[in-house]
């Protein structure tokens, strides 16, 4: 709704105000006349009319205000154009000319309608900081004229990738809260999942959009089993597979069949395929590690990131043994790009432990512990240090 209204106003703040007004009016009118057949369309029409009225008022007051909208635009309010407007708004929020921090915050604020204090809390920054970040981003959208449009075909794949990255980041932030007491921040994960579902509908031909949704669905299917009843972090091999949501996993599977159908898969599809293989395995040991290793090798080709290389090393350890994997992890350590990344020492520690080199493993767990800011993770690592020290 905000998306459609913003098209009318070309001013994000005015659109937000108009939408809020529309909600207020809705509560009054609906209480009197009952809820209309299409409440969404009703709200959008009212919000747009409000925005227009407000704009006309201001136009008379200060003749300088430009009427950026074409007049015929005001009359076209068929609900079928709403999805396209949400897509346009997503492309504005995730424009590469905005910092990634701003992209994430704007998407939550403008596409999902999350209130600024809640966004601030989710990203552990002061409310004033988040408000300033949003204001700065909105100013840039206006000053630099970031278009409210779906990008040209030549740019589309790259721009869709930016949108997918923001949604994935949103989910990841909610999934493993970097610090604080709760490992899963449901609000963020739910919003990210909503966005991924929406994008899948809006871009039905985009295989990576299907891939991202599949990836998030598999993560979501396992979310309840990631911590024990007392809040301790559980590793994949310790999780109760019977408690995984088989409905979500099946849905992910169907999406993957589509995403893998034509041409070489992209990074989200490959990650989803890896997650789905894990989700379908009867146990950690009985996982199809060879195929997982193959998928990681393909992933590293399309996305040469040291984090991917680290995850691939874990698959190597399951196929070729911990010794071979340790060689790769040590190479990554020398490479230096993962300095400060807590999963590097913790992965190394696991491998050392499996090789019976517990003293070195304890050192590596300690190094990981020093880098972790998440309480559940710290407790897990402290426990690992204790058990390897003996």
């Amino acid at each position: 709704m905000l998306a459609t209204t913003v098209r009318t106003t070309r001013d994000l703040d005015a659109a937000e105000e108009a939408v809020q007004d529309a909600y207020v009016q809705a509560l009054r009118t609906w209480a009197r006349d009952g809820v209309p057949d299409r409440p969404g369309a009703w709200l959008t029409t009212v919000a747009r009319r409000r925005a227009l009225n407000a704009m006309h008022r201001r136009t008379t007051l200060e003749t300088k205000l430009p009427l950026l909208l074409a007049p015929e635009d005001a009359e076209r309010s068929e609900p079928d154009e709403i999805p396209d407007d949400r897509l346009r708004l997503l492309f504005v929020c995730c424009h590469p000319a905005l910092s990634q921090e701003a992209q994430v915050a704007l998407t939550l604020r403008l596409v999902c309608g999350v209130a600024t204090p809640d966004i601030a809390q989710a990203f552990l920054v002061a409310e004033a900081t988040m408000a300033a970040r949003l204001t700065r981003a909105k100013k840039k959208i206006v000053a630099a004229r970031i278009p409210f449009a779906v990008p040209a075909l030549g740019e589309l794949a790259q721009r869709v990738d930016a949108v997918l990255t923001v949604i994935h980041l949103l989910y990841a932030t909610g999934h493993t809260a970097h610090s604080g007491r709760d490992l899963v921040r449901d609000e963020l994960t739910e919003r990210a999942l909503d966005l991924a579902r929406m994008l899948r509908v809006l871009l039905p031909a985009d295989r990576e959009a299907a891939g991202l949704l599949a990836l998030l669905l598999v993560h979501h299917a396992r979310r309840a089993t990631r911590t024990s009843a007392d809040g301790r972090l559980l590793r994949l091999e310790e999780q109760d597979r019977a408690a995984w949501d088989s409905g979500l996993i099946a849905e992910a599977d169907r999406l993957l069949v589509t995403a893998l159908r034509a041409g070489p898969p992209g990074r989200f599809t490959l990650q989803a395929a890896i997650a789905a293989l894990h989700a379908q395995a009867p146990s950690y040991a009985e996982t199809d590690w060879e195929q997982i290793l193959e998928l990681y090798t393909a992933l590293l080709r399309v996305w040469p990131s040291p984090v991917v290389a680290l995850n691939r090393a874990v698959a190597v350890s399951m196929v070729d043994g911990p010794e071979a994997a340790l060689v790769e992890v040590e190479a990554l350590e020398r490479d230096g790009r993962l300095a400060g990344y807590r999963y590097l020492p913790s992965t190394k520690a696991d491998l050392l432990h499996r090789l019976g080199r517990d003293a070195e493993a304890a050192d590596a767990y300690r190094a990981a512990l020093a880098l972790s800011e998440n309480v559940a993770e710290q407790e897990f690592l402290t426990e690992r240090v204790r058990s390897t020290q003996r």
Binding site: K64, L68, A144, R145, E155
Partner: protein, 111 residues
């Protein structure tokens, strides 16, 4: 249409003839994309710069960077995406360009 400055940052000391040629053809190519080059200027190299801070006059550019500000041109474009598409036409040897909206009539009007 809005106006944007395209700032060219270049590490190469001398531009090969084909790059200079490409600069010459730039207005035409921008027009093909539906934009317009309003003005353009090329700067002499960093060593020729003089900096003044307060009362102190020193040798060299204001900010010392590997890629020196080598030129500026002003374009007219529909929006940022259009401006980016136009700016991508800039011939570069070793460096890049920065796109900045001008604080002009159009922008002031939108406030």
């Amino acid at each position: 249409m809005a106006q944007y400055a395209v700032l060219i940052y270049e590490a190469a000391e001398e531009l090969p003839p084909e790059v200079l040629d490409a600069h010459g053809r730039l207005p035409e190519r921008i027009a093909e994309l539906g934009g317009r080059e309003v003005a353009g200027m090329a700067l002499q190299p960093n060593e020729t710069a003089t900096t003044i801070r307060g009362d102190v006059v020193t040798d060299g550019p204001f900010i010392e960077t590997k890629e020196a500000l080598a030129g500026v041109f002003v374009i007219e474009a529909r929006d940022l995406d259009h401006a980016i598409a136009v700016a991508k036409l800039t011939p570069i040897v070793d460096g890049g360009v920065e796109v900045r909206p001008l604080l002009g009539f159009e922008v002031a009007e939108a406030r």
